[in-house]
Assembly symmetry: C2
Homo-oligomer: 353 residues x 2
């Protein structure tokens, strides 16, 4: 267990050459006599030398590292999925990854940005930015920024998911199965708008997909089948509002034959409630949801619109990689990648008969 860090200079001394020669061996460039190469390689082995990336970064004025700012790894597996995608793709290309979770807190997000600036990261990924100002701070420090899923009005490269089409996919599936009385349980976009003052709203697009599908198939909207609660995706508590409005739907003579829940988490709660009401899924009522996080583990396994979580992370990294490529490829500007969802059919949806 060697306490002292061994440097290039040490290697050079042991090999009896200069550091310049050690470099040439390390990066296999320039002329080095076969003889000297041997000696140097041996010295590297013997001393157990590792390049010092800190010194290297200082010299290069490049750290080859990405800072990832996200909300929280739990309980919403969406973030863990994206984080994993970012991590895998970054390390695949030799980039280092710094990560920080901010739990929907603007001040913590700021702290994260400041930390990353000091760390001299080459790029920052906001997996859902919270404050426009913070994005601007990163930009002002000359850092390349990628915004994921809910970009601010500040134009930067970004990655988003096509939630609208995803919702259509869910509806088409239900309608193809003969369902007409389809309920929607989601989060009220108005409420979100009150909290966040910019950008697009995932929930809004899913809702719109629901509404437009009904319209397209000439199914009149039944207000009783619409539950837009204050359900948060950031905590585990079963929203009381859900049990309330769900009961209203259920006890009514003309109850829905299918429910479209806007997230897996919500669907999980719905499943629990239906169980209490002794309603069987999908025999008595079909359920479809969005995300594909908890879906495969539930009973019955849920038919759901899967989000490409890993792909989101990877796409974000690729935007960065592209930017730092030798040929800046001009098209750089404000690339926005829109990723598609796909329907995963499991056992929670059935034909109406």
């Amino acid at each position: 267990m060697q306490r002292k860090r061994v440097t290039q200079k040490d290697v050079a001394a042991v090999a009896g050459v200069s550091t310049a020669t050690v470099m040439r061996v390390l990066y296999e460039q320039g002329y080095v006599a076969e003889e000297t190469r041997k000696v140097v390689e041996e010295a590297i082995q013997r001393t157990g030398y590792h390049v010092n990336a800190v010194a290297r970064s200082l010299r290069h004025q490049r750290t080859t590292s990405i800072g990832h700012i996200l909300h929280s790894l739990v309980p919403n597996p969406f973030f863990a999925g994206v984080a994993l995608g970012v991590e895998e793709e970054a390390s695949r290309w030799g980039w280092k990854l710094l990560m920080i979770s901010v739990r929907d807190d603007e001040r913590r997000e700021r702290l994260g940005v400041e930390t990353f600036i000091q760390q001299q990261v080459d790029a920052i990924i906001f997996t859902t930015p919270i404050s426009e100002e913070n994005v601007q701070v990163a930009l002002d420090a000359g850092i390349f920024v990628v915004q994921v899923e809910r970009p601010t009005t500040i134009p930067t490269p970004s990655v988003i998911v096509d939630n609208y089409t995803g919702a259509i996919q869910a509806m088409e599936h239900l309608i193809a199965l003969g369902h007409k009385r389809i309920a929607y349980i989601g989060i009220d976009p108005e409420l979100l708008r009150a909290q966040h003052h910019f950008g697009r709203y995932v929930e809004e697009e899913r809702l719109k997909g629901y509404l437009d599908s009904l319209h397209k198939h000439q199914i009149p909207l039944n207000k009783r089948f619409l539950d837009l609660g204050a359900h948060s995706s950031f905590n585990r508590t079963i929203p009381l509002t859900l049990s309330q409005s769900l009961r209203d739907m259920i006890v009514h003579a003309e109850r829905p034959t299918a429910i479209f829940a806007s997230t897996d988490t919500l669907a999980a709660h719905v499943l629990q409630q239906l169980h209490d009401y002794r309603l069987r899924v999908p025999d008595d009522i079909s359920i479809i949801s969005f995300d594909d996080t908890y879906a495969p583990y539930l009973t019955p396994p849920l038919t759901t619109v899967a989000q490409p979580m890993m792909e989101i992370g990877k796409a974000a990294v690729h935007l960065i990689l592209d930017h730092f490529q030798e040929e800046p490829s001009a098209l750089d500007a404000f690339q926005q990648k829109k990723l598609a969802t796909h329907l995963v059919v499991r056992s929670s949806t059935a034909s109406i008969l």
Copy 2:
């Protein structure tokens, strides 16, 4: 958007002082005339200066950063939980966090260690080390190492969970409810031993808790009630072996009144199977599990032995913090923190009557 990075020297130039004075202002130490302080602070503002942590680290020979090597953020939420604990505690104390996921692959783990050595991290956390050699490599580079949950035979500070007592808690709960015919569904420790050649085995301890509880309460072990399959915690596929052996238990005249599943994931699969057999939980059969990851989302919400995932991560960080504290406190050596589980009672277990 300023392209060029501004340095201390720039600030000094703008303020018309030396960098030493800028330093004194930055760190509020030493004498600085009130007048000059003002001027310097203004210059910092105006130029938008941020300290360069890379240069700082090089100078200090300390990066104040932790490298976290874990298996994978998904699908097992255990890792996400630990990772979050590590992240939160690290950033709470001003430490940077590098993270890398290795998917149970020894070579990737090695790569991670090498990367972290080059990055000059001050400490590495292995959330479940894979190879002893890799741990040794980190140690040889003079890095402080913390091993989590499944320490190798190489003695370093570590954090583990008291799985044995956790299993006892589960069993005591079931037995108190009057259950005697209790089945156990878990992973075969022998199989794990074939893959990993060191350390303790989480599954073994849980199994032992089950066995010892039976013994203590003088309940004879029924081999038919023991299912030790090759179920992996790293993938989502429902193990065929599970459905097979579970059916054997269920169809038999004398079936278990309760099942203890060694992980939430396994329990989720069991729930799906029981549903197919039209068995109601907990009316026909009780289920208890271990982890508290998926448990609250399932139907019915599972009674489970919760692992303190966040605490594990935080404890690991504290071991590091303690070590780097001014007063080395002697007791440093090979601290091992053992964390307790706690029983969370929900709706999947009922009295036998």
